[in-house]
């Protein structure tokens, strides 16, 4: 037997590595989520440590869950299934190792930099430019390894799972590169080249398709391989999978603007995004139906097989999330649901149910195979399933109720045309009990996960045999006969090019028109750029992750006009690198916050929100009064912004530090006159106040 030579066996070692990494990072991501959930229920848990506040932990949670947990699960599943589907070992063992360790390095870098406040302030793309470069390099390594494997495959025909992997690799590369283009001004900080409405569009084109091509297509590919394998039945309809694949990749890419309904985004883009989001329902359910009906005639086994339960629940949650998504993309539904916890519930139905449960099923299936043993305990897996399911249900229902409740309270208008709940805090206090229920749901989900970790450890320990790679199966089958026209599914390059074209159509049609962004702006409107100190404050606003809980985008809806003022315009944010429109209102919108309250109010509120509003759940930002503004970077910052098209004069750039110090001095003296005794000279809080006071003050007609 010479199966262990690298030519005759599958590389199982890399799959084992990714599988273990999946488990480790899942634990980290889940615990971070639980901490963040508890912080919203009990604001004192934000502590007074800047690294542990909600604004910095929440991006860490989302990045850990998406790119660390789901990422490693995808790589484990893709490397495991691709080798078997193509009947060949991976292209290069060395590249596999670089891919594995490079990806773990990216995750560790994220876990260090995000709590330190290095962020680009764009959701799910927070990581700063050096890490973005590293992601690009590692993704290319992955792509070379994958397409190299395709090239040397012994099985001519590419099964549907492979199509989804191809679409994933190509599209994530396109999304990541376009959204991450930024000009650095220091070794860790940069400004994105996109601004305002254009940045919002590019960001949600990216953001929505991170969901599509990182959390959906690779998992669909895995589903198409593992469901038939685990159930030992062919996929319900291969015909449906063809329709499902092409329509899904073509339509998904257009749906991004549904995150920006009723904003200052041009209306035609909103309508387009909404229409495609509704269309997306059909291909999404094509995938769900194809998965579920594969169990046809075998339902009775469901009772005894916990892995089957995970698969069916995962597909059901996928179906629910992809029904709810189009629903929320309808403008009138979005008017109620957007900015609320409903969205948080929606994404967790997908993440915990679809991505989580499918990953768990795959791990329960491949770990015993990879370690050549049996699963330690089916009973524990069963208990894991029920704990997890209860957790998701509690999570989802509490957030749905919280979201709808708060949305309706925001909108409530009495007979006199006045807001019923003019104090934002009333709408927050009402849903805080639901935040506790949510945390309980998360706790249950994690409890189930801990059972799984124990189960897997026991399984691995029970492995008696030496860990060897699985021999490559000798079944060779080539359905492409001489003389007969070859099928598209036998041509890897052509297939990849077509998949790329399918995602580029929507991309170009949506993004290209925004290059003429000025045509949407009334020429009579002039917009002042931020002063040097305000820009510095803006960077602090980004650093602290304020956008995680505060939007800066007033929609043209009656209640929002009453509560926040005139609707936001395109012009207002045209110099914002990055845009900070936000996507969630845990606190009120800040687009017109400037000059609403005196400096003293902001000073007290930032240092101790509960001194101003006893029931506030906002973290205290005490360190802003202790840390000094870094004046040395301001010139460089303004210079980069000037090159990106923000109308600063040369003199403004040259005098940026002096001007910033002068403006800070004025704010400082104002505060001291009102009785502030602390020494505030050059402290960050001055810049933050300057920025907050400038919001909504920059547009002139």
């Amino acid at each position: 037997m010479e199966y262990n030579t690298s030519m005759n066996s599958y590389d199982d070692e890399i799959v084992r590595k990714f599988a273990l990494a999946t488990l480790i990072w899942a634990g980290v991501g889940f615990i971070l989520g639980l901490v963040a959930a508890l912080q919203m229920a009990y604001p004192l848990l934000n502590t007074n440590l800047e690294w542990l506040t909600f604004g910095r932990l929440r991006p860490l949670h989302t990045n850990a869950v998406i790119f660390a947990f789901a990422g490693n699960a995808i790589f484990a599943g893709i490397y495991h299934s691709t080798q078997r589907l193509l009947r060949t070992r991976l292209f290069s063992d060395a590249l596999s190792k670089v891919h594995f360790w490079g990806w773990q390095l990216i995750i560790v870098a994220a876990a260090v930099t995000l709590p330190l406040g290095f962020t680009q302030g764009k959701e799910y793309a927070e990581l700063e430019w050096p890490i973005d470069v590293l992601i690009t390099v590692i993704w290319v390594v992955f792509a070379v390894n994958f397409f190299g494997t395709l090239y040397k495959r012994r099985e001519k025909h590419m099964y549907v799972a492979i199509w989804f992997y191809i679409a994933t690799i190509i599209t994530v590369a396109v999304l990541h590169i376009i959204n991450s283009i930024a000009i650095p001004f220091s070794y860790m900080k940069s400004y994105t080249v996109w601004a305002g409405m254009q940045d919002a569009l590019v960001q949600w084109w990216y953001g929505h398709n991170a969901v599509a091509f990182f959390l959906t297509t690779p998992f669909l590919g895995l589903m198409y391989y593992y469901v038939p394998k685990i159930v030992n039945a062919p996929i319900y309809s291969y015909r449906l999978s063809i329709i499902h694949f092409w329509s899904l990749v073509f339509i998904y890419i257009w749906a991004g603007p549904h995150h920006l309904l009723y904003t200052a985004l041009p209306e035609w883009l909103q309508t387009l995004g909404m229409a495609f989001s509704i269309m997306l329902w059909a291909p999404s359910w094509g995938g769900m139906i194809n998965g579920l009906l594969t169990f046809k005639g075998r339902w009775s086994q469901l009772r005894n097989e916990p892995i089957w339960k995970f698969l069916i629940a995962a597909l059901t949650f996928y179906g629910m999330a992809t029904f709810e998504g189009p629903l929320l993309s309808i403008k009138s539904v979005s008017a109620l649901g957007h900015y609320t916890d409903w969205i948080i519930g929606h994404v967790h139905g997908g993440a915990l149910g679809w991505n989580g449960f499918l990953s768990f099923a795959i791990l329960y299936y491949i770990v015993p195979k990879l370690w050549k043993t049996e699963l330690y305990s089916k009973k524990l897996a069963e208990q894991h399933f029920w704990l997890g399911l209860t957790g998701i249900v509690l999570y989802y229902i509490s957030m749905l109720v919280a979201g709808v409740t708060q949305g309706l309270m925001w909108k409530a208008i009495d007979a006199n045309g006045q807001l019923v709940y003019p104090d934002f805090i009333e709408t927050v206090v009402r849903i805080v009990p639901l935040y506790r229920v949510r945390a309980l749901g998360g706790l249950l989900y994690i409890s189930g996960f801990i059972l799984m970790v124990y189960n897997i450890i026991k399984t691995i320990k029970s492995s008696k045999s030496e860990l060897t790679d699985t021999p490559i199966s000798n079944l060779s089958y080539d359905n492409i006969k001489d003389g007969k026209p070859r099928l598209l599914e036998g041509y890897a390059t052509l297939f990849s090019v077509l998949a790329l074209l399918a995602i580029l159509v929507g991309t170009i049609i949506e993004i290209y028109p925004t290059f003429n962004v000025h045509q949407y702006i009334n020429p009579e409107i002039t917009v002042q750029p931020f002063t040097a100190l305000e820009q510095e404050g803006r960077d602090l606003y980004v650093r602290e992750g304020c956008y995680v809980c505060h939007s800066q985008q007033i929609r043209p809806l009656v209640d929002e006009k009453l509560r926040y003022g005139e609707p936001s315009t395109i012009a207002e944010s045209m110099y914002d690198h990055p845009y900070q429109w936000g996507s969630k209102r845990t606190g009120p919108d800040l687009a017109r916050q400037g000059k609403k309250y005196p400096d003293m109010w902001h000073y007290q509120h930032l240092l101790d929100p509960r001194q101003i509003q006893p029931r506030s759940i906002m973290p205290a930002y005490t360190w802003l009064a202790q840390k000094n503004i870094d004046y040395s970077q301001i010139k460089k910052k303004l210079n980069v912004l000037k090159n990106l098209g923000v109308p600063y004069s040369d003199i403004e750039v040259q005098n940026a530090d002096v001007a910033a110090q002068a403006q800070a001095k004025i704010i400082e003296e104002g505060l001291q006159k009102q009785g502030v005794t602390e020494k505030l000279e050059g402290k960050e809080i001055l810049a933050m106040i300057a920025y907050l006071q400038s919001l909504g003050q920059k547009e002139h007609r």
């Binding site: 078997r84 291969y238 035609w268 199966s473 079944l475």
Partner: protein, 59 residues
């Protein structure tokens, strides 16, 4: 209006190209066999098939 003209013509072009590529794929036999690929991935090893082990599961 400019956007409308652009979008309508792009939509028409896309429709035509989709229908054309579908007809092309159909005529080239792309959809002739929609059964075997789904079954084939279930079989990892030729020896198993020869022993008819798979048949126990009703395939």
């Amino acid at each position: 209006m400019r956007t409308m003209i652009l979008m309508v013509s792009v939509a028409l072009l896309l429709t035509i190209s989709f229908v054309a590529s579908y007809l092309w794929a159909l005529s080239r036999g792309q959809f002739d066999d929609l059964e075997t690929p789904a079954h084939r991935i279930l079989k990892d090893d030729l020896s198993k098939i020869n022993n008819n082990k798979e048949n126990k599961n009703g395939i």
